[in-house]
Symmetry: C2
Subunit: 359 residues, 2 copies
Amino acid sequence: MINFTVGPVQSSDAVRAIGAENVPYFRTAEFSATMLENEKLIKKFAKAPEGSRVVFMTCSGSGGMETAIMNCLTSKDKAIVVNGGSFGHRFVELLQLHQIPYTEIKLAPGKALKPEHLKPYEGQGYTTFLVNKHETSTGVHYDIDLISDFCKRNKLFLIVDCISTFLTDPFDMAKLEADIMITGSQKALACPPGIAVMCLSPRALKRVEQNQCLCQYLDLKLALSNMDRGQTPWTPAVGVLLQINARLREIDANGGVEGEIARTAALANYFRTRLKELNLPFKIVSESLSNAVTPLHPTTASAYDIFLKIKDEYGIWICPNGGEMKDTIFRVGHIGYLHQADYDQLLDAFVDLQKKGFI
Amino acid sequence: MINFTVGPVQSSDAVRAIGAENVPYFRTAEFSATMLENEKLIKKFAKAPEGSRVVFMTCSGSGGMETAIMNCLTSKDKAIVVNGGSFGHRFVELLQLHQIPYTEIKLAPGKALKPEHLKPYEGQGYTTFLVNKHETSTGVHYDIDLISDFCKRNKLFLIVDCISTFLTDPFDMAKLEADIMITGSQKALACPPGIAVMCLSPRALKRVEQNQCLCQYLDLKLALSNMDRGQTPWTPAVGVLLQINARLREIDANGGVEGEIARTAALANYFRTRLKELNLPFKIVSESLSNAVTPLHPTTASAYDIFLKIKDEYGIWICPNGGEMKDTIFRVGHIGYLHQADYDQLLDAFVDLQKKGFI
């Protein structure tokens, strides 16, 4: 199978080689050193401000989103959240559950965030901004500079879900004055799922210190105090953490975050260009694309039927959508261990489907 | 390295082979089928009552303990908890955090639970009993029949942390009328860490249905409704779930849970017998042993120094203890892919340390 979904994605040989080994015991100086190196490299690639910290939580990216809210927000906050798809909607659900007052900027699928969306909220006493920098469900990459400027002017605490955009599109945490950056092991980190990575600014660390988290498992105070010595309060997904280490070192040795972004952008551009040249019956439905994924609306067949056909007859996974978009949108990812030749194979499959009159 | 810790432990060739592969996309009928087979086999090995359900949470065993409490207990409960070590203490901390009224049966390290410990609580209006069937930190295996009888007489809801004892010691969920059984992927399941497994009785399912869980990530209502179709609400540790499947099938093909318990018991007996024959300066400190682990008090040297020495000079991990027991106790595990010859190597190392005057 070739995997073009947005996670889990394909892993490099070095990462898979670690998966083949027994998972080592981890309450050791050796594992601590690996964890502290992971922290250092995540901070480097996120361009985190001086004094930031990183924690590795054994949970999904959504678990990381909830961890941010449970540890840093209270009912005294007044939040703005961008809701342009499933993951924006998840932030909204979490704010409701944890009783954080919020205002929602609701965007139709595929729509970009524009200055006029933010204007009504200038100087209105908001304290916090939450955004999925890349709304993965619809493939919309929001203008983070616009959001950052708004937050700076209004002195907002900025929580950024970078789950599917970390390492695929530029992100400068210090310059943006973002407070929490969240990503997951199974996106552009291209490791198995199981770990959410969170980078916390000094301002976020202060919020964690002042708050009580009502879930021990997701308590960042415990995670941070253990991370002082490169450890975790509970048994983590040790194997994935070792794989993350191999992957971060690989990226560091190959041009760092800029190199990785360029590599992903080249794949995305190649696919999008060939798609146009082949005149396939798919319409790109996002006003603002990330390098991570291309969301497509097939104009002649059901998106889900195409997903099944491509899986069962060509040995290729493209990424289906759920809910209302099940039949109208599928996505093709550009993250993980993929190469130009893989896209040629996918495009050939599409062309073949067209010849057969399926699309 | 040979790994005698109590997790992560060594994995079979079949399990490690899956680790070497790319993790597949999981929103598919194929993955759902695997998950439903996992559920079936866990229920079979736990001897779960008719109508039970299983969920696989991407978190540590401690995350599973908290999930049980957050989904099934409220401030209207009145709980009894056995606290004989670090994991009993964790249950106590969780009851405190979630404001569940409780009474603690505090046992000194190494001490067994006896009828007189329970007697004062007969007919006192308790609603719930929580116990770590095997208190892994001190290697004490509690008398679950005693606890079960008490719960039946007093109509208590019974939460059993079986994290390190599932598949190593007999457990009959139906007969015991236990309501929640918790285990973890990295114990006798002998897979990488990352997944907590929870088996829920019909009575537990009713409690979940009636409660509101104040953590979306650990919400069993969401986990259960997704598990109806063999799925999870969030991206799970897909790779570990496939490895669990391979391992459950292995056990099923090799005499089932009874075969696995017998295999573990044979290793534990072999080690304990040889230990006595060699007259090593280690004292077994538990009044009631599980097959999973042998807790040892070295009488001539620091337990932690022995751990370090064995790791650095012999390439073997034994399991150190933390906190107050750091220098007085280490543990030797009997779970995971271990064989008699591995114990010979460990015993040789101990004999060598004795010759050198280190112990």
